[in-house]
Point group: D2
Chain length 343, copies 4
């Protein structure tokens, strides 16, 4: 079967790998769609991010859907031929954090396509995938592409829970890539009354408006665009920081009202913060990392039509064109989510 | 009456000022004790901190107790001759934040001895003080010095509320000046199971142990002292950051377990943070600023013997010796809280 | 001007009352629409509820919208001719609960059309109404009827906040009158993943489905309808109890999962509860009463098209037909919200 | 070995049972002390409570400490001869609630001495006990009796967490048996500023004052004792309801301030509640059931001298006198916690 393997920065190869057999409690999937994520791009562009570096070839990919081809023994609740969204989150369920219900903080997490431990955790961009039945959420009624959006959606649903009360709140989103847009959709779904989006390109901002933002500000063209929101110690209750850029965070902090909450989604390394403002306005800066139960929630919300991710999928390329897909995904002036069609 | 007035860095003068008259709902106080706070020291040492700078002479002081000398009209519940702790927090009770119950975020706050607005808000280091009756909390049974500790204690009680659930938690305190020590007392009072204190001097660490810390680490003498707490993603549930030093915060973050909480009390300006750790461990960094209802709470806890601040008051100087008191307060190798006895 | 005045059970009269003058900070409104609420019906049917009894004639009504006819001195941000939703919540802003931000618990609340204090607080079913500008929320783009729905919507938005985290949750609503339906809309707006509605009549249940419930159960026709949800200690995260009926609450409790939350909206007197289930499943039963900031939130959500209350308004009668409107509102087999058109 | 076995109401026998062998990960304990709990008394007095009834003979007891006599294979961190507190909470760690970290809600819980499932879960009142190492918490420095108090203390620490923020709060405790007294100790440890205790006998109230209550009210001798706390909608922030008596709950509700919290610890069946007060004052009634992580927390707090349970242990009887111990425990006019000394 074909697999999409990263060897080093800018060295992405389509390689043949053997198909695995599903064990008890597992299923064999024919991959349907795979979305290219920001971390995939980091491996492709830079060979890693922060202290996480490639040390051996690794199959990329963790935003995938597939069609069930074969059921291992003891699997119930799933059927051959069924489209499923596949969660890349595979905690051990027995470490101390798993026992406390914090599965995304598992000490032994095996998250698809992650170079953090060594040997690396191989990813899911391959024509056939063996997965635990518990990773598979039925996606009847969704397209393969929508089902593959369950993963980044889950990231943003988890972030929304980390943001606390959302109903009737004023929300600022800095950074309007796929995570920023899915944050807009999630915040709206959770009852945000007003959503303002900030980015540096008109394309992403037009997508933000389409996703439901009430207002879009191009911080490059209109550097004073947020200034009216600084009055009386600030306006917004919640900031989704999706850019990883210190200036965006600093501006967002100035626009937050006292006791406001920042959800930090962008994966920067070190950042310099206006700590005096955080202290005196008593802001809360909450990190948010991946997800676990929110994966199934996201599929359910999409299936019921309560969240519509389709407009975010701007491009779909064939498996053999994966390389051009990665280059496309690098171009924020015209591409939002780029997906690979495996079947 | 004598007043302690800061004119510029290192220019502290004892000046004569006229005694005011108490209006309706007010009382005239003979000042009893006044504690020298870190912000008083900043004005004295540097003429301000961050963007807050002295622009005119200002009476210092906001940690004070006094004896009621005269009652204005309409005052009930207080008696002449009674010792009271005097809250320096004077919100407007009508701005939007006051109406939401966030009085410490009042848009029109007149907090004693603060150079933030101009004209500055004059402080309380003066022999006679007119205060609103609502600022005065009866302190029967306390010494004048203890009553004057109500203010910094309230800061730490508020910070403890900002930290969230404390019962049975593991707590790290970085920075063991008066705020660090009062954080130890507050965390213990709120049910912390384990408290570890970190600082750079043996004197402050010995005081931390006396305040109830289970363990004290001198980060200068033993730079690896916190390392055992880094295992399995970290140990502590809560970090009181009272040093304002980026290295302390970075070490504390490494020692915090996933979903742990940092309460930021140190008033730094910009700080560089290990944001990747905050994101991936999903930490919460909560600013904490002053207090409001916690002032009366602190007095009550002291009066019932549930918090004992007496060991923290290491020096008391006469009003005429205020200058030497400020110099003493600068010396963390032997002084913790230095107070001025006004009567 | 005509006013709708209740004198005793079943003694509702349309009476002539003098028009008042708007003072400083007030506006004179020409009433547009007024919705008949459950408490209005209680006064009409029974002369009160629980210990709250009519002791003098009282103008009914607290769900109203109006068009501004005249501005008192010092009013800004409102314009003559503008449609506004009028909040009946008039707290004192100075009692201890107001100062804590709990305005709906004000010790001196003057809520329209309420017989709780004596003299009673006169209501808003009158052709002309003088209101504080702060009670008026611009409703541009809404119909008069929609604007008059802001009040019961606010009740349910407040209840939704009292319910805690809603995103992705499973919700049960018992009782599908207007409050039940607005709870469905609010829960959905706040991100509920699944909503099941229970009532005793097919009409209200069909309305519940139209409001977005995923499933409707007629507890009279299908008394075992909830039984599948009892498995494994229960299914639902949240119960909105809108019926005030003990059997509904008992069934709901059986269907709640451990640590689930009941929001109690129905205004019963004494009720007998299965306390052992509450204790062993560690449920939270949270009372919810009226609202305050949620009034403006509701208007904003309606104006942005994020909540659509129009289908709930099943009947509109003229002011002169108010009596028949009240009788209609009593008939849950065909009427949901009945409103009176004043202009 | 001797075991204390209940056959039916008032039919308690000391029987000989075979000693078990510790398997891998287990230890063999020589029992040290066992406290008689309210549920043990229910089995003894009535053969059960509510729908939980004895259907076969059952060894009683779940409040126990022991000395390690032998280690099964693979056990580390424990030593022969060591005193340990033994948690009776044995969740499956794999059901859905365990996976969410709610171990006390485990679907397959095997809690010592519980007649809820059939066959019953045998208890721990026996001279030798085989336990999982994970149930054993080292109790060095504590007496056997104190270590056996870890269980009821854990119940009250868990309840205190269910109560929410405690620092500086006003607390009412209704019912001053061992659970009421441990609630007082826990509330104080968590920072309660004022604690008022209510019961019907002078003996328990004198114990409440000794445990740290600020005031004790005998509701039989002084039925109006709580009335002053009803003013202005009520006074207390938190009510620990430990009596299971509807009148106590009703009085407590009247004395709670708006948005106050009731923690329901008493295990009644059905109870009639003043629901109108719960709704209009927006109280939260939170069930609390057993504990899980709080067991080790309680042992740690006792070992550090932060909670002192010794005064609560009023009587210790020999194993052969167990029957008289049960009769003594029934007498609230002179006995608080009665323990059985096994060795």
């Amino acid at each position: 079967m074909k697999s999409i393997v990263i060897h080093a920065a800018k060295d992405l190869r389509i390689e043949d790998r053997p198909v695995e057999e599903p064990g008890p409690g597992q299923v064999l999937l024919r991959l349907a769609a795979g979305g290219i994520c920001g971390s995939d791009l980091h491996y492709y562009n830079h060979g890693g991010f922060g202290t996480v570096r490639l040390k051996e070839p690794m199959i990329l990919g963790h935003e995938v859907s597939g069609v069930i081809e074969r059921l291992g023994s003891g699997v119930s609740g799933l059927a051959v031929g069924q489209l499923v969204a596949v969660s890349p989150s595979r905690p051990c369920y027995s470490c101390r954090y798993c026992r406390e219900g914090m599965h995304n903080q598992c000490l032994n997490m095996r998250f698809y396509g992650s170079a953090m431990p060594f040997p690396h955790i191989q990813g899911a961009f391959r024509e056939r995938l063996v997965a635990d039945a518990s990773q598979c959420v039925p996606a009847d009624g969704l397209s393969a592409g929508e089902a593959a959006m369950a993963e980044p959606l889950a990231v943003c649903l988890h972030a929304t829970r980390r943001a606390g009360e959302m109903l009737g709140k004023r929300v600022l989103v800095t950074g309007c890539g796929p995570i920023g847009l899915l944050s807009i959709l999630s915040a709206r779904r959770a009852g945000a009354a007003e959503i303002v989006a900030v980015d540096l390109t008109d394309f992403t901002l037009s997508m933000a408006l389409r996703a439901g933002a009430d207002k879009a500000i191009n911080a490059r063209a209109d550097p004073e665009g947020l200034a009216p929101y600084f009055a009386d110690k600030g306006t917004f209750d919640i900031l989704y920081e999706c850019s990883g850029a210190a200036p965006a965070l600093a501006q967002g902090i100035a626009a937050l009202r006292p006791r406001g909450t920042i959800v930090q989604l962008g994966l920067g390394g070190e950042m310099t913060l206006p700590m005096a403002a955080i202290t005196t306005k008593e802001l809360s800066l909450n990190g948010s990392f991946r997800f676990h139960p929110e994966f199934a929630v996201g599929v359910e919300l999409m299936r019921k039509g309560l969240i519509d991710v389709k407009p975010l999928i701007t491009h779909t390329v064939a498996c053999d064109d994966a390389l051009s897909g990665f280059e496309l995904a690098n171009d924020r002036s015209r591409a939002m989510k780029v997906q690979i069609a495996f079947a």
